[in-house]
Structure formats: C-alpha cells, structure tokens
Symmetry: none
Subunit: 144 residues, 4 copies
C-alpha cells in the first residue's frame, strides 16, 4: 500500500487551510508521511510562531501512536493510563486536539497536525483535512 504522496498532501493541506480561513483563524498546518516525517507544511499569515513546532509534532504524534491527539489528550491526563507519555520522544508528543492520522484502507499512511487556534478550532481544521483525504479517489493512488 502506497504512503501519502505530495500531491495528496497538498490536497489535504489546501482543504484544511480553506477551513481555517472559513473559521477566520490563521493556522499552522503540517502533513507527516507514514514514517512520521514532514511532507508538507504551511503557516498562514499572522499564525502563531510557537505553533510551527506544535503543528509538526501533532502530525508526528498522530502517526507515532496511530491515534487522534484528541484521544491521546484524554489518556495523558494526570491519573490516566498514558500520563507521562509527553515526556517521551524528546518532547515531540503533543497532547492537544488537532492531530489526526490519515488512513487508506484501514492503514495509517500519514497524519495531519494543526495548531493556531483553540482546541476545537484546531480539531475542525484537522478534520477538514481528514475528510479531504478520504475523498481522494483510488485511481490517484501511486503504484508503490
């Protein structure tokens, strides 16, 4: 099964940015590949500088654990089973909403990470990216 292509990453990031514009909140948006490595990134004008790192690492985190960072956030609270996970991976594990795995045929082939607004804004923008990826027709899949 092929990993996410640059063409697909750009479709996803464009759809997410359109959602951010609709919300009216400038965002940092990152796409990671199946290795968790940065594939595409954009920072909208006036988006927070501190969110560059967070967006990239939300995408990393969503792929690293094949899990929405929104779900991980709940599991990483004090008293919950994954409390402390944010100390691992040299500080790259982000425990806020806004990171979502990108799946093809049930398999994680990449991830999107969004940072720049409040939790629900970040999450809505990430979900717009997930939806755009889900709508990519099979014929666009690169023969791997």
């Amino acid at each position: 099964m092929a990993g996410i292509t640059l063409e697909e990453a750009q479709l996803v990031i464009t759809a997410a940015a359109r959602q951010a514009q609709a919300i009216g909140q400038p965002m940092n948006i990152a796409i990671a590949d199946e290795g968790g490595h940065l594939k595409a990134f954009l920072r909208m004008d006036d988006a927070w500088l501190g969110s560059i790192n967070i967006a990239i690492n939300k995408a990393f985190t969503a792929r690293a654990f094949d899990l929405s960072t929104q779900k991980l956030a709940k599991l990483a609270k004090p008293g919950e089973p994954f409390y402390g996970i944010q100390q691992s991976n040299y500080g790259r594990v982000m425990i806020f909403p806004g990171g979502e795995p990108l799946l093809r045929n049930g398999r994680v082939v990449g991830a999107i990470g969004v940072s720049g607004g409040d939790n629900s804004q970040d999450q809505r923008v990430a979900e717009a990216g997930v939806e755009a990826f889900a709508q990519i027709p099979p014929q666009n899949v690169r023969a791997a």
Copy 2:
C-alpha cells in the same frame, strides 16, 4: 509596520529595571523582537542564574503565542485546554507570569520576559516595561 528597535528595547528594559529596583528584587529582563529573537538583556547584580534562560524564554513565549504568559499559565494547567504546551518548542514555552507581548497599533512587534522574583514581582516588572513601550511617541518609530 516597524519591529521594535534597539532604542525602544533599551527604553523598555530600563523602565522595567527601575521597577525591579523599586520592588527591591534583582531580576533578569529580556526583550525579544518580532521574530522572538533576543534583542536586549540585562541581569541585575545578585539575580538568579537560573532565571537567565527563563527570562529569555518568557519573552519568546509571549511572542510565540502573542499572549501574556500569565494567561498562558492558566490555560496550561492540568485539565485546561493548553495542558501540555510546555512540552513543545524544545522546552522554550514558559508557563509562569512575567512574559508580555509588546504591541504597536494592535500588532505584536516584540515581547518582554522577566524572571528573578515571585510571580507577582515578575509580572509587575514586565508590566512596567509594557507601559514604557506604550508611552513611546509615534515619531520614534523607525522608518522601515
């Protein structure tokens, strides 16, 4: 719109240091530019060594998220929406009071970070810097 100039940074840092002397608490005081990069710094005699890094990073944080670190501190507590943000940006995000953005015409053009006392002391010194910046007349603005 011009970023903060060295002349302005020095006015701000001097005003903040005067407030620290009035309080009687030696402080580290840092000014960051619009990119979050150090523009000016001083450590008063007998101020904590461990606060060099904290002052510089409070200024970075206030610019990185265009937000008072006092407000960020509340948002980053366990159970709050930004819990975990302090893991990001390689440990540079400071979630104590004492970091404040510096605004010109509603736009963040730099930040001040103060560390060396308790939270309320740091905050008062940072606010003295913010007030000094607000009083700089427009004709001091560098033509950019």
Copy 3:
C-alpha cells in the same frame, strides 16, 4: 516593509519544485520568514528523509546571516574566516549550497532552503525560487 506572505512563499516553492522536476531530482524545499521561521515546506516523493532538516536549516542559515549558504560554505572551510560557524546555533548552520536569502527592495524578508540532490542541483533549485520571488509584482505586497 512587509515580510514574505504565504501567497508569495507558495509561488516561490512551486517555482522551485518545478525546477527540481525539470532536473529530475526529488527535493525538500523550505521557505523561512524574516525571523528565520518556517513558512512553507514540501518534500517531493522519494526525496531524502535526512534532507528535511537540512532544507529547513539552509533557509534558516540564509536568513540568519543574510547570505547565500554557497558563499558561507567557502568562508567556513578550514583556514577561512568563518571556520567553526557550523558549531553555532545548536547545529542549525548549514554550510552547503542551496540556501538563498529572499530580498525585497534590498532587504532580506525571508529565505529558501533546498536539499535533496548534489550541491549544484540544490543551488539551481534555490535560484529558481529566488528568481520567482524577484518577479512578484509590487502590488502583491501585503499592507503591513
């Protein structure tokens, strides 16, 4: 003077990617803003993973010293005046060709960093980005 906008960054990165395709070498291409911070990034399919960091840091370096990394590479050789500069800035200083400042009216407002091929390939792709930036008409400049 306005910094580089996302719209401009995307024009530059697209022109650079087109050059990389013409050369037939998959590349990592990064655009930094006037503070040296990542504004846009893409990794072409099959481009080296190890070049993500290098492309981002070439862009950082070109802005950090307002200098082509190709010129810096010569100055940083053993026996030359900047030998040792690559130790600074926590390893972010890249001393290979492929990083170029982006100037507007003689002022550096951003930078491009390219990594994925040999030195001359990286350099050609970076220069394609510089040329695209130079051709952006003034009316595209964001009122700051």
Copy 4:
C-alpha cells in the same frame, strides 16, 4: 575580588556598541560574568540573527578558557593542539575572533563576545569593550 557588575557591563557594552557604530557594522554584543553566564546583551538594528548565539557563546568561550577566542581560533585549526575543542560543551565553544576576557587585577571576572561583522570588525569592537573595562576606576568596584 568582585565579579563584573551590571553597571560595569553596561559601560563595556555601550563602549563596544559605539565602536560598532563608528565602523558602520551592526553587531550583537554580549557580556558574560565570572561564571560565563549572560549578564548583558544587545543586538543593534539589522544585525544578523545568527550572531545572537555566536556573540553569547564567544563571551562564554573567552571566560571558559580565560583566553581570547582569536588565540583559541589558531589553536583549534586542523593539526593544532586544540583541534576538536569546538565539539565540546554542547557546541558552545566559538573559534573565531571577537571574544575577549575581562580582567581585574590579573583575574578574569567576565568576558565580552561580539558577532556581526568580519573577523577584524568583531575583534575591534570586542577590544573597545576591553579598553573601556580597563579604564573603570577602582572606586567603582563593588565591595564583594
């Protein structure tokens, strides 16, 4: 014997900045204390961003080895006895001219680090700081 005071650090940094203005090259100038820790810093308008770290670390280096970084630069070349020293101290050892210890009664009590121009410019600005420190009359010495 007292370490360098903030008042002294500011005299030194001001004298160095005046020299930089005379040369016409914007500089980053840092003063370290007897522990090698940052005491004062300024970045002149339009000085290189990449030189913030270098200026601070030149001051650190000059205190860390109680040696001019100009002399260390010679000793650290390939084939020379200190070749490799720049790998130590987590990349903080700078092997260019522009870092000078500040002595009182033959004892190193601080250091100045300058970065922003070519080697000879950095060195001249650092030396202006050293000369200013040498001229501070004894009665200015803080009782320690």
